[in-house]
Assembly symmetry: C2
Homo-oligomer: 224 residues x 2
Amino acid sequence: MHAEFYAGPVQTESTRLRLRELILDGHYPPGSRLGEVEVAETLGVSRTPVREAFRALAADGLLAAAGRGLRVVRLDGEELSQVYRVRAALEALTAELAAERQRAGRLAPAELADLAALAERTHRATADGELTLAVRLNRGFHRRIAELAANQVALHALDRLWDQIQVSTLRSLRPPARTALVDAQHRELLDAITAGDPAAAAAAARRHVLDTRAADGTAADDKE
Amino acid sequence: MHAEFYAGPVQTESTRLRLRELILDGHYPPGSRLGEVEVAETLGVSRTPVREAFRALAADGLLAAAGRGLRVVRLDGEELSQVYRVRAALEALTAELAAERQRAGRLAPAELADLAALAERTHRATADGELTLAVRLNRGFHRRIAELAANQVALHALDRLWDQIQVSTLRSLRPPARTALVDAQHRELLDAITAGDPAAAAAAARRHVLDTRAADGTAADDKE
DNA sequence: CGCACGTTCGTTGCATGCAATGCATGCAGA
DNA sequence: TCTGCATGCATTGCATGCAACGAACGTGCG
């Protein structure tokens, strides 16, 4: 494909990001097959950057080989449960680290205020039934904690897990029944970090993630 | 490059694996720059599968962008420490899961015997000064536990972390001073799993990894 | 009528060509 | 001598061509 005005040399990384967005948005639903040509035409690039994006996203666990070609990963209940157990372990770690940093006085008050604001906005969006926004804000809340933990490795590993979970739970935009519980657990986690109590923060994060697993896990039993 | 006898269509995945081996073996040391053409000629393939392998290995955290092109990742002390904290959290999880499965009677006696044999062989190789073998067996011991945990997600995440650690600690093949401690901790971990005690297994695994971090971390202070 | 085999088409695997970028080197001027 | 710029080179970014694999389909035979 020709571009009238050649956009520049960094097409391949942007291709990866744009394709990832399409997958996370549900444009390519879980289980759907991805063809090089079709994706290349959709994104307006040639097959080469698409193939490279395929490899990177496959390494990130978003795409999986399916005989000929690749498919968007579709986790069954057991696999999703495994993802959640790993996520629980990692979020327990990030919460613990964030609380440690708070105890050591290395967190700015503004950072904690931001986190609290995120929790509040998440709660409001959920209560208002803005499900898509609520999902994004919820992920933002958890991600902010991982950022406060100041551990790039944990943050990157969690990003990959969140991506996998987001793809696999796209269909079942959650029944907002647990709204009160989620908000209470978010506050508990926030309070533990604010108090600089690593053990409490780790325990709260672990419990919250495992509770979420229970909710999403049952919801994921909707067969396609 | 031309191959007299065309080897088959699955060159790209094998390229990724062979390049990974070269990096883990130290053929391309940490920090060294990887050129598409040079690697392609070394492996006897064209630049295309090499580029795809680059993307996949970069997503796995083995390669990192460095201005023009890619370099083998070189973790500084702080980053390595972060990797170890994540590894500790994940190995605590896998040890816990393995112990849970043992308690539930889902581990075959032969599996535990294999694990014990691995611990013993690791100990002997270390005592004999067979450092390269010892490193491989040690990784095998930890990996076997992750396999017994039956959590593919944790296993894959750990594989990536082990790769990063292996690359970054290649130079400093460890002073076998901690031999006795390592062996004792391996036995403690093994015993906790055998006893079906998840909490003890998790604690033993976490402590062991963090102790290893302390050893490798100081060793990694050897500047190149 | 069913099964098996062959053919064809679509898709991917890989190689290579061309263009553009960025770095290094050397020259000129202050 | 140092700084600034221009030019050349090495290397990557991307596109496309060609060949092989595999799947779907149709046909012929049992």
